[in-house]
Symmetry: C2
Subunit: 335 residues, 2 copies
């Protein structure tokens, strides 16, 4: 008997996460295979504390008509059968996109995480659990690679991270070390009910293209490519976090703020090792409220550090902000 | 007119490489498109110093019969027409594999680099130039990713590195920022003569599979995927080199050698940030004369550092070597 909850949950790691699951877990369940399996495994693993620890949350995105309604029904039914409380909400994503603009998937994700945060905060739950798998991790790594990334992007999906700034709620991914194949086997063995999301087969989406066209080709070369990419993500996360710690501690020591401006000493920047310097510049240039800063912005800023005619030079950042070299200072200004 | 030598050689960077090309460059030329184009571009760019600076080297691997002989002839003819000296040698790779064993490609590479080193040392040349392109770089990054890698592997092909321990000769790759497409266009424009290597189309080789099946699929998602992967390699190299510098400086301070043994202090290892600790352990465990040490070896060594029953525990390394935890020391012993 190998299809125990422990065989798909990363329990050795989960046991080290303070407060999991006793501090409350909102399980994000779409009704699809991965999340219904996550719910089944957590329900089994939690044992007697399940009703106190677990809460099922489902957002009906209202994008697929009757199919969406059926998803919501299946999730509510399953929660009820398990003796768990649940929250089902309805959003009109198509309407949000029509009025506010933006990419459908990105808007759906934003609305969904806002719902999960609200639900967790209302219940006083410390965690939101999502069903991202090792296969999702591998696809995310590949997707980042294809679109262009550095070490930061290779860290891909975090096993545990704050849900957002300003909330104590954390997002946790208990299935992140388990392949889709293992999930399928577990679900089949236990007769886990789920609903197929037909959009998963739409090859026009980059992720699905990687899943159905590229990964099978790579598996011809290495059947374990999924776990190889997931392991890379985990190691990249360790390396990147350490390099960011060094960059942040340099910033704490050297950044000066005055009147909405932030200034860095050029002479000190010049003696920094390049990997730390790029991360210092990126940390200052990339602020949550502005569009993403690209590698070319950082390279342009680095060029103003060079001696000679760079003095007085100016680099435009996203959101109308600027970086200007003034004598020995690199000054970041708001729009 | 955009098909100048400067448009395919990374000249801004080459000008910063001390001694290039005046200290002597052995150009490794197989007779294929990339290396014949490299030769053409270097010959053009060097101008009047070409006869003093450049030397053409070709190793006939003797693997493809008459085709191999024709390759050698084309290279020698081209060098003669350019007024350059050349060295052509013949090796019997098939014979080497039959007698010594090993993978054909790996043996061929080893014999070829030994020939290039010998040629450069004989001529007193500081550099061996090879024709690796951005496309080779992208394929190498992908190949490493598929087979499983960490940051170290993502550094892929070095733009400039020592050819081997114990020689001042450096390997340089002047085409590493140029795509195969640009090379084809340059070669066509200048009527560069070259010979097709039919083994390039053999899909049974992992690299060719990536080239002909996977990369075209990825280019559907991002036509610039080649340069994205090459940029990642360059950034990974910077990050990895910096982390290795920190690991090496820790080793210099803390490693103790006595009687063929190397000992590291466990209490100091335990307070190291994990990315540095793993690199310290890898640097000690991986020695040139032994088979490759894997990530699982490092993880096993890290486990002996934990308190409690780990004391006295032992991890087997490659080549019959061992690592043993003895009180506060981690001791690496030869076979």
């Amino acid at each position: 008997m190998k299809f125990t909850a422990e065989s798909i949950l990363n329990v050795a790691w989960l046991r080290q996460v303070a407060g999991f699951p006793s501090a409350g877990v909102v399980v994000a369940v779409s009704g699809g295979l991965d999340s219904m399996t996550l719910l089944h495994a957590l329900h089994t693993w939690c044992g007697d504390c399940r009703a106190q620890c677990l809460h099922v949350a489902h957002l009906n995105h209202g994008l697929r008509g009757e199919a969406s309604t059926a998803d919501a029904q299946l999730v509510a039914e399953t929660a009820a059968q398990m003796g768990l409380d649940w929250t089902v909400e309805r959003a009109d994503i198509a309407q949000s996109v029509a009025s506010g603009g933006g990419n459908l998937e990105a808007v759906a994700r934003q609305v969904r995480y806002a719902f999960l945060r609200r639900t967790a905060e209302r219940l006083g739950a410390a965690f939101v659990a999502t069903a991202h798998t090792q296969s999702d991790q591998a696809e995310t790594v590949l997707l980042r690679l294809v679109r262009g990334t550095s070490l930061a992007g290779l860290t891909a999906i975090a096993p545990l991270r704050p849900l957002a700034a300003g909330t104590p709620v954390q997002v946790i991914r208990p299935l992140l070390t388990v392949s889709r194949r293992q999930i399928v086997a577990y679900a089949r063995y236990h007769g886990v009910r789920f609903r197929e999301d037909v959009t998963n087969h739409d090859l026009s989406r980059a992720r699905n293209r990687l899943r159905h066209r590229v990964l099978p080709e790579l598996e011809q070369l290495n059947p374990q490519v999924g776990s190889a990419l997931a392991r890379l993500a985990a190691q990249a996360r360790e390396d990147q976090q350490y390099l960011m710690t060094l960059a942040q501690s340099w910033l704490k020591q050297h950044a000066r703020r005055a009147g909405g401006r932030l200034a860095l000493p050029v002479s000190e920047l010049l003696v920094l090792p390049p990997p730390i310097r790029r991360r210092v510049l990126h940390a200052v240039a990339q602020q949550a409220e502005y569009p993403a800063v690209a590698s070319r912005h950082i390279t342009a800023i680095e060029q103003t550090l060079l001696p000679g005619d760079a003095i007085g030079k100016c680099v435009d950042l996203t959101g109308g902000r600027q970086v200007r070299r003034i004598a020995d200072a690199l000054v970041f200004t708001e729009a």
